[in-house]
């Protein structure tokens, strides 16, 4: 039996944090934080980029987490959370890719560079989509829950390896496992920029949590309706 828990309070709190946070975030980004000297206004996209990329990876970790839980004990709720997290993840991965491309165009005059983080994000996007394809398979939800969880776990294992491999590839030097490679974001940031970046990450993370909860609620309602429908059909038929 699926429970639709009307956990209104938590959602309401999230919502009341989210709205002002977003307004503050926009203020910080466009008014408060200084304009970057070399790149100018285009640099503002960086705040959205970092936030989206962070959520893209966070969402995938959540998929992995719920996949492990689903395998341990299959529950509809866990299955739903993994799926919704993947769907939101696709959205933010796409945003991270697009903003990254715009950034690249502005700073390196090319839409695409084979930069490790960018490649990893692109491959993450493909893994997400593949995961959603697995979930679209026909069969009982238990079977699909098992198969998609298995794929989710394998996918999560893969992501850090992709990052490592692309970084080694990119440096074309003797592989460095630890330590920074080419540095594009860290150095030379003013404290206001850093603060804005962290606030932006925070806001987008709250947005993610909010979307995840809402998405899961909608999905649960859908399940309840589906169940009611089959019940009615069975009654009419018999």
């Amino acid at each position: 039996m699926i429970k639709i828990n009307n956990s209104g309070p938590i959602d309401r709190v999230l919502f009341y944090i989210l709205v002002p946070a977003f307004l503050i975030n926009l203020y910080l980004i466009f008014v408060w934080s200084p304009v970057e000297k070399v790149m100018g206004d285009v640099q503002k996209i960086f705040y959205f980029h970092v936030g989206s990329a962070w959520v893209a990876f966070l969402a995938f970790c959540v998929v992995g987490f719920y996949s492990v839980l689903t395998l341990i004990k299959p529950k509809m709720e866990r299955f739903i959370y993994a799926g919704i997290s993947a769907e939101i993840g696709v959205l933010f991965t796409t945003l991270a890719l697009l903003t990254g491309m715009i950034w690249g165009r502005a700073s390196w005059n090319t839409w695409w560079t084979w930069e490790p983080r960018l490649i990893t994000t692109l491959i993450l996007w493909f893994i997400y989509v593949a995961y959603l394809f697995v979930r679209k398979m026909e069969g009982s939800w238990e079977k699909i829950a098992k198969l998609s969880s298995v794929f989710g776990i394998i996918g999560v294992i893969n992501v850090p390896i992709v990052f490592m491999a692309t970084r080694w590839w990119n440096t074309k030097l003797h592989p460095v496992v630890f330590g920074e490679g080419k540095d594009q974001t860290g150095g030379g940031m003013e404290p206001e920029m850093l603060a804005t970046m962290f606030f932006s990450i925070f806001t987008i993370t709250v947005l993610y949590v909010f979307l995840l909860r809402k998405g899961a609620q909608i999905e649960k309602m859908r399940e309840v309706i589906k169940k009611a429908k089959t019940n009615i059909i069975n009654k009419i038929a018999s």
Partner: protein
């Protein structure tokens, strides 16, 4: 009459698939040398019941005990005692009957494999075709080979899933002959079937599965006629 040793026992077996409760609290036992047939209307959960007993599905609740051992996901050795004859033959079309038997024999760790498979092939009348890929075989021939496959491992219990469907008269006669022989040898047999006539000729006891519950069982012992059995079935299934 001496008390039968229990070969297969189901204790409060429940199975939930998706959001549906397919099997509820099924308790059944099958004695050594006994033949039990499970019948029931479509959608009663017969195939789920069967999959649970052969260990393909893990019951959501309760336990299945075979020859004193609980069937679990990891219990590999118990499965050796089960002879599972399914809808499909489980045979590889590119391989010959002999190769098919040898493959399964190795997996079931059958000793003296070549000799036994040759004897079985003679028994089911496929000895002449032992080196022909089974792709060209008729359905009846394939089913005969499937029977040989099941018997190869000398199982303690035979589990037959609608074994008579799609068989010609000759194959039905052969199957019944083999089943009766195994009954004489004291093997336990579980049959799931639609075919009342065959159930009547083979089974000692019949259980009706309806909406995931065993609603009634009846002892046949050769005293009840086919019509009486059918009447009983109709009454149980229609009523309530």
């Amino acid at each position: 009459m001496k008390e039968l040793e229990t070969m297969l026992e189901l204790k409060n077996v429940t199975k939930v698939l998706g959001n549906k409760l397919i099997l509820r609290n099924i308790s059944l036992s099958l004695g050594e040398g006994e033949t039990l047939a499970v019948v029931g209307p479509n959608g009663a959960g017969k195939s789920t019941f069967f999959k649970c007993t052969v260990g393909l599905l893990q019951p959501s609740g309760g336990e299945i005990i075979l020859d004193g051992e609980i069937i679990k996901k990891k219990s590999v050795a118990v499965k050796k005692k089960i002879g599972f004859l399914g809808h499909e033959s489980f045979l590889y079309s590119n391989l010959t009957p002999f190769e098919n038997l040898k493959f399964y024999g190795k997996l079931y760790k059958v000793s003296d494999l070549e000799h036994k498979s040759m004897n079985l092939l003679k028994e089911v009348g496929l000895y002449l075709f032992r080196d022909v890929p089974i792709r060209s075989f008729s359905r009846g021939m394939i089913q005969r080979l499937a029977i040989a496959r099941v018997l190869l491992a000398e199982p303690n219990i035979l589990m037959l899933d609608e074994p008579h469907t799609g068989l010609d008269q000759e194959a039905v006669a052969l199957l019944n002959k083999i089943i009766k022989e195994k009954q004489k040898n004291g093997k336990s047999i579980l049959i799931i079937s639609h075919d009342f006539e065959q159930v009547h000729t083979l089974a000692d006891r019949v259980a009706i599965l309806k909406k995931g519950v065993i609603v009634d069982t009846i002892q046949l012992d050769g005293k009840m006629s086919l019509n009486e059995m059918k009447e009983w079935y109709d009454k149980v299934v229609m009523g309530g």
